[in-house]
Symmetry: D2
């Protein structure tokens, strides 16, 4: 296989998971602006996700968020899974939600009250039941747990409570299932978050065992954090489980992946390629909020941005890079990386798409499909999906 | 008058304005946790604000937010004003809101569509009408206007639109009225905010005229920004109109003033004192969100925190400081400032309160008053106030 | 003229000034690593700068830094100017230095001691004398003035002192000369810098008059600051005088322009083009430290990076962008910008260079020239140039 | 023992190590301002350190930095140790330095060239020899290793090299010796630092074994990082080895401990107390640069600041705090912490000092001692100590 053929093969086999909630409404604490045509049910979300996969060819799975995607019972999840398969999709990661019940005002699994902790744990275990029903491999845990004021609760005791809950969930996992632990610097907790950084997530995962892995959400770091360094380290430690892709200029802005700093996304994907992470062992998920832009084309664009970053990463001339690095030639080594980054990979990706039987421009194809008009016309009445439970 | 007497006099005459919305529910984009007893109407908010003033003695005015505090008509605002006066309060700054209507998804006075700009301007002018009815001196303008993506709109054209609207509002002001322009680095806009920093607010205010002043919200800066420097500069330029006090560890966390960095609040108050800003020319307002803590005592605590910072600032030995500064004695000058900061001013403030006929500990007095239990019992049914219109 | 021809013409006429000090040694507080072949005199720096211009065609001027480039007397500067002209160069901006004398430990023009202030002012005025001798248009003022500890000196009084010095220098300027005032958040001052942000520089320049303009150094901002917004604003206010290009991941890292965030450099250049700033009214200067990489090729690479960002900015389809912005089509507007950014402009620039009679790849041409080997062989002995006075 | 007696006992037994290099000159990359009276030799540094201990009573050990404190041979270190003991001091942590030799331009133990790595490792092993001679327990490793440009070197391979060196040093340790691994976000590396955060240091220490511990330098984090959280976690993991105390507003400013954010220092010390870390297992060291202020009194002030933060932390009413936390009373819990913080502990510390036979005000006592004048008069000629090797 030639080098270009290998790059193309890698791009064809890439899988980028889209999140069911990105198809629904979202916003800031100031306002959620509604958009016409937004899905009202998990089924309609899957309908939209199928369009993204239809036009990109690389978005075959959809992440669910419980309870935002709750259906009647476990059988209902199995039916949802079938519904997805009929549309060429599979259900992906199950996302737990222990932050929107009134009980969780001061935390969930780290709450001072053991009754609240039990309730939260119950939800997490229910999510594993759902995984069994959907055939999902991964449970993603993000905890909004934390404190807003110094002294509000005991940082260390909260770690003990967290550890206890994580162990209980880990014990419940099937042998082919994984727990993905996500960290986040802040928001909604404004003083101390209980899993604020990769180190904390890593320390817990290490103790849990090989089925526990860390999730890197690209918007969850302090300013100036070198994310690709973390990626390289976690791959070296065999503890990188997944990405939540999005982009940000300030805090957790949840803009389209690659929109704010495309060079950073490229550097991240380079470390993924370098560390052998371009496999199914690492789940590549989007986790974004399309507050003001049209949702489906924004997701298509994000998928394309991840593809473009991946293509550039694959095009890095590894031999030339290694040679320049070994010689300590700073400028030459940097230039090898930049050569790949500065390449316009859009023609290559258009070619890959055509070889996959797709239109070369997914955004244009989506626009031409009439889907946007169709959902605006048909999805009238009911309650639009959003972050509310 | 002795030095201590002068300090006490300054503390007695201090006025800290509380915001009507802090008495209602608030939260993050993830969840608004409701609290029992929260007011359901502007009148009930004033009832609560009266308690804060009753116990602290230095919170005589309440800021309104339109439309969150909308009443039937202009006569209604006059009645609200009377209602306040009957409770020992006055209505303070009128806050406009051009960020929660569906029309404002892409901005208000900077929106690309002139019809939306006209609508937003209409609201701002309506707020001046309300000021006439309430007798308020100040109109506070905060614009959520901005863009989320590079290229989304033209940064410079938006400045032209902003300028046009500001001039139109300025023209409408009465001779005793002022326009306070607030800046904010980001949120809800995630790429470019149209008034992101003090420089932008200052440049506009300079062109508008002497009735236009800048508002410093302590949570609206980039990490590392030296806020007291900005305060010193704006006072030197006679362009400091008001403070929105709150505190933050990360972004615009809106925690209680003084909770996250009491030393910073002290440094800010020192520059206020130094620059002659401890007068009615500068409005000292709280602008906070009590997402998880009880609201009224949190506001009382915040008022006390501002008082304590002010007391410490007033206690700085100006002569000793000036002498050390003039000699270039870095450590001695710093030590003079720190001596004041390290002083426990709570006994002094307790004394000031007792001399004003108040209980020495406002939080304890509030707890003992039974108000918290009363509002939980009485405010049943109806819709709790919050950020929704 | 076709669109492409216009772009090429703009690229051909671009002028990027290189700083004399970037040819010398530099480092961090931990260590200055010396490089073989580094110039020992201002003349040798010009020899190196001539190589950069020879290979890029767009670096015709060199900024001097006094006293790092001090020569014997004013006649000496005139001779240096001639020397430059003989090599196809001109002397550019004169940079003052009031931060390396032992007297300046607590500041220069803001120092508490009037004797130190007079000394500093004397140096600034001397720099105008040098400008007269070199024919330089611009005096660049960067002050390291500030304080390390709260209370160390009076923030406001320091502004008064600053203002006094700036006025004295402004008065001394010839009618065709300009004063460029640079701001910087921090370093070497660690608490309050006397000109920390664009607002402060702008406020002073406004009072000085039309010959005073603001310098934007791309490394001198708080994390998260939107630099292109500042550029757009200063152009709108006709107060943008110059750029100091470099790049950073953390603080004032002074890496090669475009190396850390090429997308940001593109956005900045887009606002320059949009605001009509691609003229000689704005000086485009590099201000970098090549601590570990070879200096001349690093400067060539930086010039090329600025060219590439400029080319992409010029390629933005203004009509399409305006149309999408007017319709509020967020994704389409962003896509227009990204289309230009994602274009590989290296072939276009290679063509421009060939049309200018240059080699298409300046780095390769420099390598092939043998200059690097020549200076290593010839520049033996003496004291290498660096930041020391 | 009463509560106050226990607090006093804890304060009396506290030990804060001062760094030999803080007595010498330091500065920024722009300038090192020399101060009169600065030591010229390790012996003179110990003379100064003895003054700090004499006046504070809690600074009995001094950290050495090799080669800045290099003496002739191992016997010389033993003599230095005796010299210290004669002055009531002991030699403390040995700090290695693999960042100031020309060979280390691209790194030390992570350098691409194995010869440089061997040289660096040799120095680290030499430092253990010195520990044997001085009787020091701890070896502190800070690596400036990293890269300035993306692609410059391979992030992951550098981790492998780092790991190899750490293991080699660990093997060499005596059974009573420890390795302290320090992390730092950036500077002097400006793209990727090889040990940038606590997670990286922790991961390495975990693999090395129980004698490897993490050092928390309070100035080495990204903006917004919650340092006390890290402290709580490392104590929970039994991996907190030491502190490098200093303070900062922006980057690694190295200001006096407690000068920039005294509330943060208090929160850190609270977690230390809470986590049982106020023992000799955690080394409390200063690591500061007194660039513009007098050095000895600045160090005394820093020691006092750490003492004051410790005193406040010890005064937190643990029972009340625990009760409020358990009930989820956010305001009450925060108030318990703030009560301790707002206490003026200077009288208590004055009392502790008097009970130890010391003057109540160490700064005043130092000033009165005449030492400052003495060293200015006597230390004439020679080369002042500084960061140079």
């Amino acid at each position: 296989m030639t080098a270009v053929a290998a790059v193309k093969a890698a791009l064809r086999s890439q899988a980028i998971e889209t999140p069911s909630w990105a198809y629904g409404n979202s916003g800031t604490r100031f306002k959620v602006f509604a958009q016409p045509g937004v899905p009202r049910t998990p089924w309609e979300k899957l309908d939209d996700a199928a369009r993204v996969h239809e036009h990109t060819g690389v978005a075959p799975t959809v992440a669910l968020h419980i309870p935002w995607d709750r259906v009647e019972d476990l059988e209902g999840y199995a039916e949802l899974s079938e519904y997805a398969q009929e549309r060429g999709l599979r259900l992906g990661v199950i996302n737990s939600n222990v932050f929107q019940d009134e009980d969780y005002k001061l935390g969930s699994v780290c709450h001072p009250d053991p009754a609240v902790r039990r309730k939260a744990l119950g939800h997490l275990l229910e999510c594993v039941d759902i995984m069994d029903a959907t055939g999902s491999r991964d449970l993603k845990l993000w905890f909004s747990d934390g404190t807003n004021y110094p002294g509000q609760d005991d940082i260390r005791t909260r770690q003990d409570r967290l550890s206890e809950a994580l162990h209980a969930v880990y014990e419940r996992l099937g042998t082919d299932q994984r727990m993905l632990l996500e960290y986040k610097l802040f928001e909604p907790a404004f003083y101390a978050t209980d899993v604020p950084d990769w180190g904390t997530a890593y320390a817990h995962c290490l103790k849990l065992g090989p089925q526990a892995k860390v999730v890197v959400d690209t918007g969850h770091h302090a300013p100036g954090t070198n994310i690709e360094f973390i990626v390289a380290l976690l791959l070296r430690e065999q503890k990188l489980g997944a990405f939540d892709f999005n982009s940000r200029f300030y805090a957790d802005d949840d803009l389209m992946a690659g929109a704010a700093d495309p060079f950073q996304l490229f550097r991240i994907m380079y470390e993924v390629v370098r560390g052998g992470g371009l496999t199914s062992e690492v789940a590549f998920m989007l986790d974004q909020c399309h507050n003001i832009e049209a949702k489906i084309p924004a997701i298509i664009r994000s998928v394309m941005n991840v593809q473009e970053a991946t293509a550039k990463a694959l095009l890095v001339d590894g031999d030339a890079l290694h040679a320049a690095q070994s010689e300590g030639d700073v400028l030459a080594a940097n230039a090898v990386l930049m050569d790949a980054y500065n390449t316009d990979v859009r023609p290559l990706l258009a070619q890959v798409r055509e070889e996959m039987g797709l239109a070369p421009d997914p955004v244009a194809a989506y626009k031409a499909s009439g889907w946007a008009e169709k959902i605006v016309a048909e999805r009238v009445g009911g309650t639009q999906a959003g972050w509310g439970a």
